[in-house]
Symmetry: C2
Subunit: 313 residues, 2 copies
C-alpha cells in the first residue's frame, strides 16, 4: 500500500446515467449492465491513480419517493433518508461491479475498497430552500397533477427539490485517512445525505445536494489532484442541442467562467458541472475534466471530453 500512497488522487464523479440511461425502464439488470463499461475502466485506472468515486442518484431517489407515496401502510421517510438508501443501493452496485472488474482484468491484488455513507452539512438559511431547482425521478410527458414543484425540461416535466450548497463533508477526516493509504473510496453518493447543524449534532433536511458541487467540496477537503465528471454527453458544449453545437476540448478557467455567465450551460445540468470544475481549480486542483461515461480513460489521457485548465497566475 505504501507504493500506492505516491499515486495521484483522482476523483471520478459518476452521473446517474452510469446506471440508468434516459428512456430505459431501469431494471436492476440494465443498471448493472450500464455500470460495467465505466467500472472496467476504473479498475484499470486504479493501477495509476488512487481513486475516489462519487455518484449521482436522481433517478433512484425519485423512484423511492414514488414508491413511498403510493404506499399508505408504512410511515413516510424524509428525503435525506431516501438519499441514504440510494447510497446503500448504488454504493453496493459500484463496489461489487468494481470487485468483479478487478477479477475480469486479472488484477489479483486490488487496492482495498470501501463504500462509505457520507453526510454533508448545508446551511438552513440557504436561499435554495425557497427555490427548488434539482430535478429528480422520472420524466412525465404531460404536466402531472402533483403537490410538489415541477419544471419542464426538453425531455418532459420533472419534479424538483431544493439543492443547497454543500458546506462540508462530515467524513472528510476519515476519507483523507483512507485515500492517503491507497484505499479506493466510494462516497458522497447523491451529493451526500443533507443535514444542518443543530445544537449538539445534526438534523437531516429535505433536499438533494448537487453531486458535482459536493464532489468539488470533497475534492478540496481531501486534496484531490485530478477531478473528472462523467456524464451522458461527450463534454461541455457551446450552443448545446442547437444548430451550431460544438463541444469544447480544452479551455481556460476564465473562458469557462465567461461561457457560464453567458448562460451557455444548462442550469441543473451542465452549469453545475462547469461550476464544480471551476471551484475545484480555484481550490488548488490541477486538472478538471468533463466527459462521457464511456470515455474515462480517454479523457484522463487528454483524448476526449472537455478539459478546464487553471488560469496562469
Amino acid at each position: 500500500m505504501n507504493e500506492r500512497a505516491a499515486l495521484p488522487l483522482l476523483l471520478v464523479a459518476l452521473g446517474g446515467n452510469a446506471l440508468l440511461r434516459a428512456g430505459e425502464e431501469g431494471t436492476l439488470a440494465q443498471q448493472f449492465a450500464n455500470l460495467a463499461a465505466p467500472v472496467r475502466q476504473l479498475a484499470r485506472m486504479a493501477r495509476d491513480y488512487r481513486l475516489l468515486i462519487t455518484h449521482g442518484n436522481g433517478p433512484q431517489v425519485g423512484n423511492l419517493l414514488l414508491q413511498q407515496e403510493s404506499c399508505g401502510e408504512v410511515p413516510r421517510l424524509p428525503l435525506e433518508i431516501l438519499v441514504a438508501q440510494t447510497q446503500g443501493q448504488i454504493g453496493y452496485m459500484i463496489e461489487s461491479s468494481l470487485d468483479a472488474a478487478f477479477m475480469a482484468e486479472g488484477i489479483a491484488d486490488p487496492p482495498p475498497l470501501v463504500s462509505l455513507l457520507s453526510y454533508v452539512v448545508v446551511d438552513a438559511a440557504d436561499p435554495a430552500f425557497a427555490h427548488p431547482s434539482k430535478p429528480i425521478g422520472p420524466f412525465y410527458p404531460e404536466r402531472p397533477a402533483a403537490n410538489f414543484p415541477l419544471i419542464e425540461t426538453p425531455r418532459g416535466w420533472r419534479r424538483v427539490v431544493a439543492s443547497p450548497e454543500p458546506r462540508t463533508i462530515v467524513e472528510k477526516r476519515e476519507i483523507r485517512l483512507l485515500t492517503a493509504q491507497g484505499f479506493i473510496v466510494i462516497c458522497c453518493g447523491g451529493g451526500g445525505i443533507p443535514v444542518v447543524r443543530e445544537a449538539r449534532g445534526f438534523q437531516g433536511i429535505d433536499a438533494v445536494i448537487d453531486k458535482d458541487l459536493a464532489s468539488a467540496r470533497l475534492a478540496e477537503e481531501v486534496g484531490v489532484e485530478l477531478f473528472l465528471i462523467a456524464t451522458d454527453v461527450p463534454g461541455a458544449a457551446l450552443d448545446f442541442a442547437g444548430p451550431r453545437q460544438r463541444f469544447l476540448r480544452k479551455i481556460s478557467a476564465a473562458e469557462a467562467r465567461s461561457h457560464l455567465r453567458a448562460g451557455q450551460f444548462a442550469p441543473g445540468s451542465m452549469a453545475p458541472k462547469v461550476e464544480a470544475c471551476l471551484r475545484f481549480l480555484a481550490g488548488g486542483g490541477r486538472r478538471a475534466l468533463i466527459c462521457a461515461v464511456a470515455d474515462l480513460e480517454a479523457a484522463v489521457a487528454g483524448d476526449a471530453g472537455t478539459e478546464i485548465v487553471r488560469d496562469e497566475s
Copy 2:
C-alpha cells in the same frame, strides 16, 4: 490512534429494536429517539474498546418491500438491493447519532468513524433457500392473503424469507485494516447484502442473512475479542414467556449448547443469538454476551445480560 490499537476489539450487534420497537408506528423521529440511549453508551464505551457495530434491519427491509409492492410505476428491485438500501438508512442513522453522542458526552477528539456497505457470500445450494425462516416486516394480527410465505408468531403473522448461512464477509480485509487502526466501523447491516459466487464475480440473491450469525462470522474473520448481541429482552431465558421463565446470567458454552438442543430458545429469535455466541467462542472469542439494548455497558461490566463463557479445554 496508535494508543487505540491496543484496546480490545468489541463487536456490538444492535437488534432492529434499537431503532424500532414492537408496537410502534416506526416514524423516523421514534427510530432516532430509540437509538439515543444505546448510542450514548457506545460513545462512552469507545474510550475503552475499539468498536465494530452491526445492526438488524427486519422492520425496515419489510417496509421497503411493502412500498415496492404497492407501487406499479417503477421497476421492482430484488431483496438484496433493499438490504443495501437499509444499510444506507440505518448506517447513517447510527453514525450520525454516534457523532451527536460524542458531542453530548464532551468527547472532543472521537475515533474516526465510518459506515461501510458490506456484502456477504452465501452458498446457492444452502438448504435455507427451500425453507424460508427469517421473519421480516410488520406483524399482521390476522393471516393476510399474500403470495409470500408466512409464519405465525406470538405477536401475529409475519412474512418469512430465506436465511442462508453467511460464508464470508467480502470486505473483511478492509474492516481488519480499519479496526486495527482504531476506526469505529459500522458494517454488515441487516446481516450483509446476500450474494453468491459466480464465474467472475458475485450475484445478488433473494435472502436476508441472520445478522447475529453474520456478526459471528465477521467477528471470527476480523479477530474480535468481545461479542455482544443487544436485543429486546434482558438475555437468554429458560422457559421463555412461560410460567417458570428465568433469565440466564452466566453459563458455559456446553450448557448453552444443551439448552439450544433442547429447544429452549426460539428459532429465528433467541436460538440464532445463542448459536452466534457459541460459534464466536468456538472460533477463539473470549466473552460472548446477550443483553437488552439499554444494558450495553452493564453487560460488558458483568452486571446484566447472559454471558456465555468458553468451556475449559
